[in-house]
């Protein structure tokens, strides 16, 4: 028994890596379609946007980078699709320096292509990137033009039709911050108290625990927590809008629902590793105690 346990504990880590690789790759290549159950925080975010009227304005802030794009992209795109379905105006900005704008551009290009009847500058606008997130959102609380004088194409905001009624965050119905680090927290602590704008946050699963404090305190109207939150949102969208249901069912692109299959398998593998590792550790400890008692 002891040699087997020793061998198990000293297993070449490349075997573990191979198992992890297979655990991620196989479900992505062959989706299993595992069920997704929704949580209250995601439902409340969905219902808040659902209650908005056509012509209202939602600001989606891309506060994440490529490292967490598989978790965060589906959140931002899901919310954008919902807004476009309801003809809610969408303002996009990026406050994350390491690739936020590139992801915002790619995401907007992808989703806007699905809604060819919507027009840039009338139904949606991309403000681009600005460094110094806390300072930028504080400025946006007073005057969006002060923070973003032009959009990403260099057009002055005064010349963009949909920005005429949106001077500051006070005219924005809700800010959706899809965030990987501190920037989501800045929206809650800097922008929300100053302008009163409601906040929905879409953090990575690793970043989600801290946002429960804000959720409990009523400083958030909703939260999409990690890939599961994004998958829940996709499920809610598919349930409310049949055309989006068909889209999520047939698209070949990556979706959070597909990602959840891989995440389930990988969680299973990690739990298995923890249990096996602990069983081997306890067996080794018991053997040592036994040897010491002799």
């Amino acid at each position: 028994m002891a040699p087997f346990v020793d061998r198990l504990l000293n297993l070449d880590r490349r075997w573990l890596f191979l198992l992890v690789f297979a655990g991620v790759a196989v479900p992505i290549i062959m989706p299993m379609g595992l069920p997704v159950t929704t949580t209250a925080s995601t439902r409340s975010a969905f219902e808040y946007i659902e209650a908005l009227k056509p012509g209202d304005c939602v600001l989606i802030s891309y506060d994440y980078g490529p490292s967490s794009a598989p978790e965060n992209d589906p959140m931002a795109e899901g919310i954008m699709r919902q807004c476009f379905m309801k003809r809610i105006r969408v303002v996009i900005c990026a406050l994350y320096a390491l690739g936020g704008l590139q992801l915002a551009n790619n995401s907007l290009a992808k989703v806007s292509a699905e809604f060819p009847n919507l027009k840039y500058g009338v139904d949606y606008v991309n403000l681009g990137f600005k460094d110094g997130p806390a300072a930028v959102m504080k400025r946006m609380g007073d005057d969006i033009v002060g923070a973003f004088p032009t959009d990403v194409r260099g057009t002055p905001l005064a010349q963009i039709p949909m920005m005429k009624g949106v001077r500051s965050l006070r005219q924005v119905s809700v800010v959706v911050t899809v965030a990987t680090g501190l920037i989501g927290e800045y929206w809650i602590t800097q922008a929300h108290p100053q302008s009163g704008v409601p906040i929905i946050v879409g953090p990575t699963a690793v970043g989600a625990p801290k946002y429960y404090a804000y959720l409990n305190a009523g400083q958030l109207v909703g939260m999409l927590s990690g890939m599961k939150g994004a998958a829940e949102y996709e499920k809610l969208l598919a349930g409310r809008y049949p055309e989006l249901g068909r889209f999520y069912k047939t698209t070949h692109a990556f979706t959070a629902t597909k990602g959840m299959d891989a995440q389930t398998v990988i969680h299973f593998i990690i739990i298995l590793f923890i249990l096996i590792g602990n069983a081997a550790y306890m067996s080794q400890r018991a053997a040592r105690r036994k040897a010491a008692a002799r």
Partner: protein
């Protein structure tokens, strides 16, 4: 009138005062630290006062506080510039001294110069940094899409492998605290995914029971996240906020001088 007062006050506090401070510092070395401290005091106290004194010259749309916010964005831009200078200095030093890993510095600097030059060229030429007027992507966008985005995603993806390896080798129930952490960790990991449905998939008769158990596990996970985790996070956030507030007071009052490079304060 009010607006003009705010503007004049800002010019006096953040332009004239620093100039006078620098000039005085030349003649009286003991006064060198005073100027920055006074500027720091006003930069800290004006935003606070603007929250309590609803005067246009302080908190109006063109008052002192919004203008300071605007300046802060500009200062952030300079901080970025400082970072670039720092990267260039470190990289060139590494290359010139042939320190370990110096070839990587060549890659870093080449990437910085090429990407930066393409971005600046796009902005200066008016063609756009990421998208050309005809809607096609610029070389800057090509670099971002084909180098930067996949590389950053790859680095983060490696984490999954290391986490799995660490779970096997290091996540041990060595004592009571570690055991509680381990059990909570397993419950949250299992509850955040349809794990039971996945395990019951090959056994159709077990699937309804698995779905029910999965829902219960999901609720337990939400309770762990909202109640014990939420309470602990609130405590951490409130503690950190109090710490930040006390540090801010020390900086505003000139007790903390570390940011001036003058030592740690009194």
């Amino acid at each position: 009138m009010n607006f003009e007062f705010g503007r004049v006050a800002l010019v006096v506090l953040f332009a004239l005062l620093p100039i006078v401070g620098i000039a005085l510092g030349f003649f009286v070395p003991a006064l060198r630290a005073r100027g920055p401290l006074v500027v720091g005091f006003f930069a800290g106290i004006i935003p606070i006062l603007s929250l309590y004194i609803p005067k246009r010259f302080l908190s109006g749309e063109t008052g002192m506080r919004p203008r300071l916010d605007q300046w802060l964005i500009i200062v952030y831009g300079f901080a970025l510039l400082l970072g670039i200078v720092n990267v260039i200095q470190n990289g060139t030093r590494k290359i010139s001294r042939r320190e370990s890993g110096w070839p990587y510095s060549i890659v870093l600097l080449t990437g910085l110069i090429v990407t930066g030059a393409l971005g600046i060229w796009g902005a200066v030429s008016g063609q756009g940094i990421t998208t050309l007027p005809d809607g096609s992507g610029t070389p800057f966008k090509w670099i971002a899409d084909h180098f930067f985005l996949p590389l950053q995603a790859t680095i983060f993806a490696l984490l999954a492998f290391f986490m799995a390896s660490a779970a096997f080798r290091a996540f041990r129930a060595r004592n009571t605290e570690a055991t509680i952490l381990l059990v909570a960790g397993i419950l949250v990991m299992a509850g955040r995914v349809p794990l039971l449905e996945f395990l019951a998939a090959p056994f159709p008769p077990l699937q309804p029971a698995a779905a029910g158990a999965s829902q219960a596990l999901g609720k337990l996970t939400e309770w762990i996240m909202q109640t014990p985790n939420g309470a602990a996070q609130s405590g951490i956030i409130i503690g950190a906020a109090l710490g930040a507030a006390s540090m801010a007071i020390r900086v505003i009052l000139g007790i903390e001088k570390g940011y001036l490079g003058l030592g740690g304060g009194e």
